[in-house]
């Protein structure tokens, strides 16, 4: 156990924390290298919208917003203040929606993103891997060939195009699904109501279908290429020679072996769901983190961009860290030592 802690756990924890520190620092620096800043974004938005402000008022507003947004002081001072806040769990106020805290806004949007993206990701992962392995092991099967062609075609289409096609087909020509949102206009979310949950699920079908269709192709191709190498391994050939059932060979010899990199990829993909599916959320009017991120970019909302990115960095880093720790459980060949 001591060996495990010293040689495996502690180095990985250090790696994990370093990754988060570097990622967050870069997230702090990059928006500040942009040629614009949130104060100018706000002032210019007001002027561009035709507000009547005299020159003195504009100068005063600039100064007031700089102070309010905590952007006064040198970048280094701001950087330390930022870490100090972060250690207290405070991501600061959203600069595009001042003074609402970033954490409050992300906290409201994140459940929608997670409820949509995680099931969609897991479904596409399961089906993509399953059919990818089948397709590789039964190359002559015509039905699987059709599935492969469809998967490849959909995968090569940008997912916002898939989204719009699904929307036009199933909301307009065959109007069986709603146009937009996570629930109907005029309805308030009520998670204690079965009616609301069913409506919510109905609204999630097209966004989820988009993600599943596009994700399926990627997992399919990945699994097929992994398994095509394994099929020719000695132990698989041996298993066939000794007459084991094909189903057992596929599941226990081929898929299990190929699953490890796919599990890593799944963990990393699960980590990235914190940043949302930007364009999908915009196309479907879905109130998730992706929609927040796009608005933040347009309004140079440093705090929000950093908040979302921090969640994503921590999500990916944690997922990789956990999968590192859990590998031996999935694959007995792997040992901590």
């Amino acid at each position: 156990m001591r060996k495990f802690v010293l040689r495996y756990l502690i180095p990985r924890i250090i790696q994990y924390l370093t990754l988060i520190f570097v990622g967050i620092t870069l997230t702090y620096i990059i928006p500040r290298l942009a040629p614009t800043n949130p104060v100018e974004a706000q002032v210019s938005m007001m002027i561009a919208r035709g507000s009547s402000l005299d020159p003195d008022a504009i100068e005063a507003m600039r100064a007031a917003l700089t102070e309010l947004y905590g952007l006064s002081g040198s970048p280094v001072e701001q950087y330390f203040a930022f870490w100090s806040r972060l250690f207290r769990g405070d991501l600061g106020p959203s600069l595009g929606n001042f003074p609402t805290p970033v954490s409050e806004m992300i906290g409201q949007a994140l459940p929608y993103t997670l409820r949509l993206l995680i099931p969609a990701l897991i479904i596409s992962w399961i089906f993509g891997n399953f059919f990818g392995a089948l397709s590789s092991y039964y190359p002559e099967n015509k039905a699987l060939n059709v599935v492969e062609v469809l998967g490849q075609v959909v995968r090569s289409i940008p997912y916002y195009i898939v989204a719009i096609v699904l929307l036009v087909v199933f909301s307009y020509f065959i109007p069986i699904f709603p146009f937009s949102g996570a629930y109907p206009i005029g309805t308030r979310p009520d998670w204690s109501s079965l009616d609301f949950i069913l409506t919510y699920l109905e609204h999630s079908v097209l966004p989820a279908a988009t993600l599943i269709l596009v994700g399926f192709g990627g997992w399919f191709v990945g699994m097929k290429s992994l398994t095509s190498n394994i099929i020719s391994e000695d132990y698989v050939v041996y298993a066939e020679i000794v007459g084991l059932k094909k189903r057992n060979i596929l599941v226990q010899y081929i898929m299990r072996t190929a699953m490890l990199p796919q599990l890593t990829a799944l963990a990393m993909s699960l980590g990235t769901v914190f940043s949302g599916a930007l364009i999908m959320e915009v196309v479907f009017g879905y109130p998730g983190v992706g929609s927040l991120a796009i608005r933040a970019v347009y309004s140079n909302d440093y705090s929000m961009i950093m908040g979302i990115t921090i969640y994503s960095i921590i999500g990916v880093a944690t997922a990789v860290f956990l999968i590192d720790l859990l590998y031996p459980l999935f694959d007995p060949r792997v040992r901590y030592q």
Partner: protein
């Protein structure tokens, strides 16, 4: 000896079972109360669809939902979720079009502002009998308190404005406030006058109990308009307003009956979805869509109407998209070069690329919208026809009076009968002339300025590169981006070393002067009123900021001229309604044409499209009582003219 109490398989099974149990929505495990029975026609509980006007909020989802503090500095989508259109009210309104009873409306004020002779005092007399939605009367206390609070609270939107202008105030009676100004200001009333937005009145009886007015969310908002908040989506997708029972005690009541019972502002998503939603009659007023989307509605949705009954359909906003030059950049600091770049632009191609031809062009530096064609474009037409510039030492007439006609002819090739043929209608809808597309004259102008051509590209007189990347808006404004792409193509053809630099938000870049040219706007006007001080206040050399410093207001092109200063100073000295204002405005237009600091293109056409399935009475070119573009504060006047069909 066993190392583990659980085998690897047992651990995995137990983990899977635990995760599945935890992930199951607990709600599914208990009996769920059903939502109260809703009729399918209801847009919200108790709100029949035919009684609810649904409009697009062009700022999208209102986040954070539930914040209605319109006075805080900065912009939020909640400003235009119905708040400034339905619930707030201001002293005066200037309509961007003709207005219900003329362009000027005394809303909360009983009469126009009364200035003393040297414009150091402004007296406001308020209308009596106006009430907040909670039954408290609106009085001078509210106006006085609004200004006092904003002036003394850094972080409020107009703090600097009041701090720099207002010395003190007096409140001689319940309905009068006198402002004593720190310096003469003949346009001080503009801050209280809605053109899109303004300083709206605060309810003193609410805000005086608030400890931190910056953090205060003003939820639910106490309304001074004809509507009050009924409900909103916590995710900001919709905000529902309900007509006040006592709407007769609001400022619009004297103009007609407020017939629409419910109003909802929604985030309908991207342009294509707005088109689909209106075709399904789920969105009554679209704020804006792509030209292609508008053409689709014109062809497939007979119930959809626009500002113009036919091509170009769109409402021309009193905003002037233009090619903006940084007048400090080498080359662009020469008038001849700016004129050469203007003559290198083919306005027909730009109009077709941007709006599929559905543009309203302007050769002069004010938008061809509202009352401005009468104030400026028509009076200047003879002058423009005779106007000359020096090209190679010879007089050259750059004006092409047939430009709009040529745009219509080209548009007709793809849109056929949708494009009118009557020249008078075309002039009204598409504008008059523009500048010639004359590459020979442009070339001579470049040579006159000392520019030279090297390897097919224009270079500065000293032989160094003359690069003119054109900044534009990307996803945020595809129409402008398409116009910019065509200008780049025109310039490249002329030998300019140029590229398209599309940015999501180019405004701060322009403000800082870190650009060479941009397709955006620096000129916005009242639309209904001819006074040009609205934008010229930023163009005086006393507020000039060189590149590298952030410009004050809209002089991002860094233009200054002694004659311009004289015009602005004269405007400052005269009353807002002085007829001399138009004369000075015409002088400005002539100066701007001669100097061409920016190349005006067209009005900012907004494809606001209204569905007549449930409601009628929308504003149009034939009944231009207000601007239909739904995020404008001025659209409050729509609600006394729009009538439900079911009534």
């Amino acid at each position: 000896m066993k190392n583990h109490t659980l085998s690897r398989r047992q651990f995995l099974k137990a983990s899977a079972a635990f995760t599945a149990a935890a992930a199951l929505p607990e709600q599914l495990a208990k009996p769920a109360p059903r939502v109260a029975g809703r009729l399918w026609q209801e847009i919200a509980p108790g709100v029949p669809r035919e009684e609810c006007l649904i409009l697009e909020n062009p700022s999208g989802s209102v986040l954070p939902a539930g914040d209605f503090n319109r006075w805080r500095a900065g912009y939020g989508a909640f400003w235009v979720c119905g708040l400034q259109q339905l619930a707030l009210d201001a002293l005066w309104y200037i309509d961007p079009d003709a207005g219900i009873n003329g362009v000027w409306d005394n809303a909360l004020a009983a009469e126009p502002p009364i200035y003393n002779e040297d414009f150091t005092q402004m007296t406001v007399k308020l209308r009596e009998g106006i009430y907040w939605s909670d039954g408290v009367e609106f009085t001078a206390d509210d106006l006085y308190y609004t200004v006092e609070l904003l002036k003394n609270t850094p972080g409020m939107g107009s703090q600097g404005l009041f701090e720099s202008n207002v010395d003190h105030m007096e409140q001689p009676d319940k309905y009068t406030v006198i402002f004593y100004l720190k310096k003469p200001n003949s346009r001080f009333h503009a801050v209280f006058t809605v053109r899109w937005g303004a300083v709206y009145m605060m309810p003193k009886h609410i805000f005086e109990k608030v400890e931190d007015p910056i953090a205060f969310t003003f939820n639910p908002p106490v309304s001074l308009g004809a509507y009050k908040l009924r409900d909103y989506d916590p995710n900001g997708k919709w905000v529902l307003w309900e007509r006040r029972e006592d709407w007769q005690r609001t400022s619009v009541a004297r103009l007609g009956e407020v017939s629409v019972k419910y109003v909802m502002y929604i985030d309908p998503g991207p342009s294509d979805k707005r088109v689909l939603a209106q075709m399904a009659h789920e969105l009554d007023v679209i704020h804006d869509i792509t030209p292609e989307g508008r053409i689709t509605l014109a062809r497939q949705s007979p119930s959809s109407v626009g500002w113009f009954p036919s091509f170009p359909w769109a409402h021309p906003d009193p905003t002037l998209p233009a090619v903006i030059y940084n007048n400090e950049k080498p080359g662009l600091d020469k008038r001849e070069v700016r004129w050469a770049l203007t003559l290198a632009i083919d306005i027909v191609q730009v109009a077709l690329a941007s709006y599929r031809g559905a543009a309203t062009i302007s050769a002069i530096h004010v938008p061809p919208t509202g009352m401005y064609p009468q104030y400026y474009h028509e009076p200047l037409e003879p002058w423009l026809n005779d106007f000359t510039i020096k090209v190679g030492g010879e007089d050259y007439k750059p004006y092409d009076p047939t430009a709009a006609q040529r745009i219509a002819d080209e548009a007709r090739k793809s849109l056929g009968d949708l494009v009118p043929t009557d020249p008078e209608i075309l002039k009204k809808y598409i504008g008059a002339g523009w500048w010639k597309h004359d590459l020979a004259a442009a070339e001579q102008l470049m040579l006159d300025a000392g520019m030279r051509k090297k390897n097919g590209k224009w270079v500065l007189p000293d032989g160094s590169d003359f690069k003119v990347p054109l900044l534009s808006m990307s996803e945020s404004n595809p129409t402008m981006n398409r116009a910019a792409a065509m200008v780049v193509e025109n310039w490249a053809e002329f030998g300019i070393d140029t590229t398209l630099d599309a940015q999501a938000n180019p405004w701060p870049i322009m403000g800082s002067g870190e650009y060479t040219a941009s397709l955006a706007w620096t000129i916005e006007t009242w639309g209904g009123h001819p006074d040009l001080f609205f934008f010229l206040q930023y163009w005086h050399s006393r507020v000039y900021r060189p590149s590298g410093e952030v410009s004050v207001g809209s002089n991002s092109m860094r233009w200054k001229h002694p004659e311009l200063d004289r015009i602005i100073e004269e405007i400052e000295k005269i009353h807002f309604d002085d007829p001399r204002g138009i004369e000075l405005g015409l002088e400005f237009c002539k100066l701007a044409v001669q100097e061409m600091p920016i190349t005006p293109l067209m009005a900012y056409n907004v494809f606001t499209t209204m569905d007549t399935t449930y409601f009628t009475g929308y504003p149009s070119i034939d009944d231009p009582y207000t601007n239909p573009v739904p995020n404008w504060g001025n659209t409050k006047y729509m609600f006394v003219k729009i009538k439900p069909k079911s009534s």
